[in-house]
Symmetry: D3
Subunit: 255 residues, 6 copies
């Protein structure tokens, strides 16, 4: 039995993605992974940053934040501190890189997609939930854009989801760690993958600990299983919400 | 007919307050006023800021922020800019002062109540919705505190709610302006009142315009009506959620 | 008898406005309200901020600061702290809004008026003294501008002055609070009005206290009286200094 | 004839020092050197910075700033920029070092003297005027302190004044440069000296130019003459205002 | 043939570690990996950060920076920008975590080891060179500490080195990428390992690309080979310099 | 005998300048003055700051920093603190001004020379070593530029070097103070001179002390001697490295 009453090491937490959660953004979702809740929105801006101007391609950038009381103890706001923490920067750089791996930047003109991931309640796995939700919000935003303007091809080339795996103090691997498990884990590995089973990002860290090649292999297999389930949920949500599917999924046409 | 299809100048937007919206804070609500949605949480910290130490009294402080895409156009995050805007400071100072007017700082020991108001969707009146919601979140937090520790008296001395009133370009007054009305208004007045009908704060501003004494009187009457309705909603919510009622309402006892 | 030896509740402190106090600005005054002393200067810049370019209208913006030892205890400089306090932001936003209510932004081309209010000695009422003084400095700057370039109409449409009123701990109202009175007051209300008797801004705050409608009415009447006296002083000063009078005062012509 | 109508190269501008210019500080002056006007205040704080605690000695620190419109063109406030410029830091470090050279830090207990020099109007020589004025403000503050508490000896050990000298584009030396002269000068030398004729600080800079040993000697002689005159003015002012004179001047006793 | 004239995909660049490079730090090295040069210093501070006080354990923290002209184009200094970039934060967090995995925090008292990695010349692989060099600098610092004070056990428990591996655009893997290779690579993987062959950290990123499980396996094998060579160099250097060897290497005794 | 075992008061420390120390900058040196080591690099940027655009002249600007452990105790990084200290600003302004005095800004087009002086080990005299080294780095950069593009004349008009002199506690003068001497000195004077014997900058400071005209004269003579020796070393290094000599040295031609 796991910390949050799941039966098995390889069980995902219940994951629900609600689309069009907010009124203003071109795409938005509330993703809930167990008690972790993240609002992901995708905003389309009709220009690119200066370093890209005139190249005929677009850009995708991400920001991540937590409400002060998303956590068990209140955190000081980063706006009050006047600077963004290293952890936040690391996560928002990760989300942006991950999305760019499945978005064809040459297919939607000189536009910027701003992806905002705001954690309103945290119980472990906020960065992976943010990626999984941001993928759906971005796809919804591109679906809207494709209805308004003529795009050469649908910009999303494959599904993308992320999950954490870890090793507990007795050396056992487990999927989708809740906060209590994460805090106690010896090793924490975040994996971002596509529907085609390709890795986009792996970040594995021993927390004052190390891990063997065998343990890494076990974790990667578990992660792949979890990600396939998450992509199943994404497919469902996109079809139900009228989002366009990725090209690789025979998509690029309106669902 | 008003911009958002309300019939009358003196009609409030539909207002819903959902308590215990978040898992971690001592008190939390999601308040919806029309399309304006604000998460208010109240956190209890077991100490006071340095300037108050050793005086045996508590403190209440508030912070306010918006998600970047709470609005029709995306706003740059204040954490990315590295500083809090004047508008944000003005609003969070207002929320804090308003709450302190109905909270007896001598009744809950050397503790700080952190009130966080995060606008997830904005359609006018975010600061007044924040005050109305923050009152309920704070009352819930004090209710929890009163169950855990012995307080000499229940700290909330009266109900508190806030509403905006304004004057349109033809000189007519109106209650509870949505964004479209607010942007077009010649005068904007925010009023914070108690159930006893006492003013806590009034802030009236001509936007490149001015207003007469007669218009001020009309607006104040309208505001008072709106606030009485809002307090009715607060009472309902607190009774349903098992929150303690303010002392002035025959409360201070568990509802 | 009041804290600073004034006889009556409705008595203003002695108010003196010295024009052309500084050599470089287009308009400048030293305003003294009792022991409160503020240098107000109005600088004309031959361009507007980016958001206004090409619209053929001007802009008015204000900044406010205190010398570190304007007060009984030395304050840390905001430049040393690296950020402007919420109080400062609130005040400079108020001064700018107030001035814009009586300045016709379409009448002086694409220019920015920078109004700087620097408190060199503080004894209560610094924000209202700043507004009253800034009005004269701005009028002097526009008078100079009108002599140099052809303006379609004189930009100042009416007189503008500000005063504070308050309620002491026994519930009595009083006009133009000095620091000692302000620190002890239960309620503090700042009022900005025109010569035509129109309100531009009212900001009333209970300091851990509340106020009734009757008390508000009393305060508003007192404030209006005080403002009429201040506008009398402004008229005198402008006529003596050769400043142009507002249009509403039969002005817009050189005095 | 010089830029500001002085006859001679070795002529100081008219220099006036008004003591007790502000109500709150322990010592304060308005110093006018030609059109340059600086408010200098000296505040006594009853503690020292952490690095000095427990050593039984005091500290003297200085800050310098300009009002935005002290100059012909408006400068952006350093508080708005969020940082202090290199020029400001350089000047305030200079003022602090200069004062510490004539103040016996062991003679006034664990106290900090905060010296604030705020330029309200600038016409060249603001840093030297600040030093000359700050000396008087500090002496007045110590005089007050000496009346209230028992000091082992009067902390001011000698007079201190500062002046600028320079070389114009034809190679001629001149004393006490106004802004127009300073802007055109090839070399600028600031000298801080005591009444005993000792140097405290010399800072000479070729502005995209150089200077010979002979020119340096000429400038130093001119500076010394100017400083003797300034010290004469300081003596006069201190005697008139009831300030205590420096020990070296047979002082340390009340004037 | 590779971009920098190495023959083979599995060839490390020439790596030289010079110990005691600086005079002041307790441990310091200059590490050169091809044209990449990093100064690593380890400083021992006799206290821990507040969150660890009183727990009887130590702390290891790292900072990373580049000289502005370490790169082909000059970079703006982070001190001038007033903030540390996301890339810098990510790297210094990585270095700190990596070192903490092989340092027994309970073995050297309440002390902080500050590890500073300053890149003076960059040609790819600066973060991995920094880790490899920082390990030696830290070991030297602990060797010095162990000579001065009594430690229960030598704090370094195993060797630690890091290397990058990548996939070029034709899908081939390669070890220890120089800048030109790194800029062109489709995938970049940084691996940190111990002498025992345990992973401490793996960070693999597709740069607008993805990678298969087979490619990941190939890269991990290559990385392990490279790291064994780097640890060989570290052993050599430590023995020559009189540093203490890690416990796992039969060390903990003076070499 | 001096603190670092030099025999005489007028003896320079051993000074070595290694050119082309870094691979990327147009000019770079490592200068060692005793145990003080500074990396100076000169980077050429093909544009000037906004305030100079279109004037057909170039600009020279300098930045200065220390590695955190360049000193006996570790200093906090200025990038971590988020601001540059007053000392750093003062030094980098000095280096820039000094270089501009011997560089003809009209001779190298609209280009900016960025001079970066990074102290990797400090033992007193870092600012003077930085100037002496920066001169060589800049000359090397201009030599490279002159080989690539046609310059009307070689921009360096004369040699430039800097040295410190001081007065110890017994009143004796000494040349080129090491850290221990500097910390104990009563007076510290930094002198920047050309080969022609002209002063570019003198900055003399009594550290809670003063100095007489006679002492100043003694120090200036000692400084001039030291600077002539340093310029001899610069000549040697430039000739050996193939740098172009200054025009005044019969140079401007390739050595």
């Amino acid at each position: 039995m796991r910390a949050d009453d799941r039966d098995k090491k390889e069980e995902l937490r219940e994951t629900v993605i609600e689309t069009d959660y907010l009124k203003h953004p071109e795409g938005s979702v509330l993703i809930q992974v167990g008690d972790t809740k993240v609002i992901c929105s995708a905003s389309i801006e009709e220009r690119v940053p200066p370093f890209l101007r005139g190249q005929g391609k677009g850009w995708v950038t991400a920001e991540y934040a937590m409400l002060p009381r998303a956590t068990a103890e209140r955190n000081i706001r980063e706006s009050s501190k006047g600077k963004v923490s290293g952890r936040t920067m690391e996560i928002q750089r990760l989300i942006g890189r991950a999305l760019r791996a499945v978005i064809d930047l040459h297919s939607f003109g000189e536009r910027t997609i701003w992806v905002d991931c705001d954690v309103i309640q945290a119980d472990g796995g906020t960065r992976t939930a943010a990626i999984t939700g941001a993928f759906v919000a971005s796809t919804m935003a591109f679906s809207r854009l494709a209805q308004k303007v003529d795009l050469p091809t649908f910009p999303i080339v494959d599904y993308l989801a992320a999950v954490s795996v870890g090793i507990d103090n007795e050396g056992g691997v487990m999927l989708d760690l809740c906060y209590e498990e994460d805090a106690a884990a010896a090793v924490d590995l975040n994996v971002v993958m596509t529907n085609a089973g390709q890795f986009v990002e792996i970040q594995g860290t021993g927390e004052e600990a190390t891990f063997s090649r065998g343990q890494l292999d076990e974790m990667l297999i578990l992660a792949e299983k979890g990600i396939q389930q998450l992509i199943g949920i994404q497919k469902n949500v996109l079809e139900t919400s009228g989002g366009t599917l990725p090209k690789s999924a025979g998509g690029g046409e309106h669902a």
